[in-house]
Symmetry: C2
Subunit: 308 residues, 2 copies
C-alpha cells in the first residue's frame, strides 16, 4: 500500500451558486484531495493548519475516512482560513468575495514522523515556500511528487514557484494558468514549455471540458462526464488531483499507461464532487459508486475503429 | 456506395486571423462539407447557387474531387454570396464584418435528377425554408438526414426551423445554440429537449473542446485533437459534419456504434481543416493522412481499465 502525504489548506468556505448558498462549511484543498484519495487503498496523511474555531467533528470525519490528521496543526488562539465565493450563472467563473488567511498567514508546515517516509507527495495549492518546506522535510525523495498551483502565485511569488516546479514530477494546472506560466496560447506548446521547467508530466485541467495529460510528446485526454446538473464546482480540481494521485499511490505504478487510468479516475471522482454543495457528496461516496461510474467513462470515450 | 446529397452555400470568404488575412477565397458550408465527405467512398453531389463572378476553376476543383456540381446553379448576372469575418486572438470567437447574400437571397434549390434517389442528405446551414424545399424534392425518404443550423435562424425563422427539425434524424449544433434552442443550460438536458423536437441523434459541437453525440440516453464524446497551431477555424464545423455523414454514407451503417466512429472521423477531418487558411488543407488532404491521424485519436482517448 502506498503512503501518500498531502499538504494543503483545510478551511471554511461560504459558497453561493445559482442553486443556493451556504454558511461556513468545510472546505480546503487538502480536504478535497484527501477525501478523493481516500477512495483508494492508500495510507493518506494531511499536513495543514486550522484555528481553535475548527470543529473537532470535521477532523473526526477525516479520521473516519482513514485520513491521518496528525499533521493538521491546531492554533487554539487563531482562526481557520476562510474563503467565500460566488459563482456566475454558467458555473465556469466565480468571484472571490472574501479571503481571510487567518492561521494560514504564518503557516509553518511540519511533516509528522509517520509520513517522512511517504512515497507519494501531493503539494496542494498553497504558497510555494510552504510547498518547498514540505519537500525539504522528506529525506528520501518520494517516488512521485504532484504539484497543484494557481495564477495568484505566478503573479506574486513566481521565482519561488519556479523553484518548486523544477523539483516535481507532475504539475496540475488549468488552461489559463498554463498559458500564463508558459506565455503560449496553444496548450500543446504551453505543455512543451512547462516540461522544460522541470515536470515530466503536465496535466492541464479544463473544468467541464476535461483534462489533458502531456508526457514526452504524447497526449491523453479525459473528458468530464456530461452531467444533468452541476450543483457546486468548488473543490472539483482538488478532487480530480486527489483521485489522480490516490489511484497512482494505490497501484504503485507511475507509468504513462497507468497515469491515463489515473486521470480517468480523477475525472470520475470530480464528477461526483460537483453534484452537491461542498464536501457533502464526497463524504457519502462509496467505492461501488466510483466503480459503476467508470463504466460510463468507458461508454463515453471508447470506440472500435479499424486503422487502414 | 452511398449517395450523398449536400445542400449549402458555395461562397467567397475573406478571413482575418491573428496569423494573416485573405482576399476573397473559396468558402461556403457545402464546399467544406463536400471536400470532407469526398474523403470517403461515396457519391457526393452539391445543391447550391453562385454568381457569374464565380471562377470555373473552383467548380473544376470540386469535380476533380469527384463531387458532382450539376446542382450548383450559376446565375450569370448575379454575384456569389460573400462573407467576411475577423477572428479574435483566441480564435474561439469572431466578428462578422460583411454578409452579402447576393444570389443566395432568392435561392430556389433544385435537386438534380441524378440525386433525387440519394440515401444520405446533408442540410448545411441555410434558411430552413431552403432546407425544407430540398427535403420535399426527394420522393423516397433518405436513410439518414443530417441538419446543421445556427442561432441566426433561431432568431429569425424559428417556426420554419422547427418544422425542419421535426423531419430530420441528426442535428449538429454548437453548445450555445443547443442552449438557445432548448432553453436549458446543461447540455445533457438540452439534448433531451432537442430529442423531443424530432432528432433521434443530437450532436453538440464544442469547437476546440470536441463534440458530444447523444442518442437514447447514451452519450459519446470525441475530443478535438490538441494542435500546436490553429491557423484558421473557418469551415471546421462543416468539415466535421462532412466527415461525419461521409463516413456514414460510405459504410451504409447508421447504428450508434458506427456513429461513434463517424464523429471521430468528423473530428479527425476538422483537425486538418484548421491547419491552413480556407479550404487549402482540405484540397491537398490525402486518405493516407486521415488514416494516420486516426491512430493519434486512438492514443488520445483509449485506455485499458478493469471494472471492479
Amino acid at each position: 500500500m502506498g503512503k501518500l502525504l498531502i499538504v494543503g489548506t483545510v478551511a471554511f468556505d461560504a459558497i453561493e451558486t445559482p442553486f443556493g448558498k451556504t454558511d461556513k462549511i468545510l472546505g480546503g484543498a487538502a480536504t478535497y484531495i484527501g477525501l478523493s484519495a481516500a477512495q483508494f487503498n492508500v495510507e493518506v496523511g494531511i499536513v495543514s493548519v486550522v484555528g481553535g474555531d475548527f470543529p473537532q467533528e470535521h477532523l473526526q470525519m477525516l479520521e473516519d475516512k482513514n485520513i491521518d490528521t496528525t499533521g493538521v496543526e491546531i492554533i487554539k488562539e487563531g482562526k481557520t482560513f476562510f474563503w467565500s465565493g460566488k459563482y456566475h450563472n454558467d458555473l465556469n467563473t466565480r468571484d472571490t468575495l472574501i479571503t481571510d488567511l487567518n492561521v494560514l498567514a504564518g503557516f509553518n508546515p511540519i511533516v509528522p514522523n509517520n509520513f517522512t517516509d511517504c512515497d507519494f507527495l501531493m503539494l496542494g495549492n498553497l504558497h510555494p515556500a510552504v510547498q518547498m518546506a514540505v519537500i525539504n522535510q522528506i529525506p528520501k525523495r518520494p517516488k512521485l511528487i504532484v504539484l497543484d498551483t494557481m495564477n495568484f502565485w505566478m503573479d506574486n511569488a513566481l521565482s519561488e514557484l519556479m523553484e518548486v516546479i523544477a523539483k516535481i514530477d507532475v504539475i496540475t494546472i488549468n488552461d489559463e494558468e498554463a498559458r500564463q506560466l508558459s506565455g503560449e496560447y496553444s496548450l500543446v506548446k504551453a505543455a512543451q514549455k512547462i516540461h522544460e521547467m522541470g515536470p515530466k508530466y503536465v496535466v492541464i485541467k479544463k473544468g467541464e471540458h476535461g483534462a489533458l495529460l502531456f508526457y514526452e510528446g504524447n497526449v491523453f485526454f479525459a473528458p468530464a462526464l456530461p452531467l444533468e446538473e452541476v450543483f457546486d464546482p468548488t473543490g472539483a480540481g482538488d478532487t480530480f488531483a486527489g483521485g489522480f494521485i490516490g489511484y497512482l499511490a494505490s497501484t504503485h505504478d507511475i507509468s504513462f499507461e497507468n497515469m491515463k487510468r489515473a486521470i480517468i479516475y480523477g475525472s470520475n471522482l470530480a464528477s461526483f464532487c460537483v453534484e452537491k454543495f461542498g464536501t457533502e457528496r464526497m463524504e457519502s461516496l462509496s467505492r461501488e459508486e466510483v466503480q459503476k461510474r467508470l463504466q460510463q467513462f468507458k461508454e463515453l470515450t471508447q470506440f472500435e475503429i479499424e486503422l487502414g
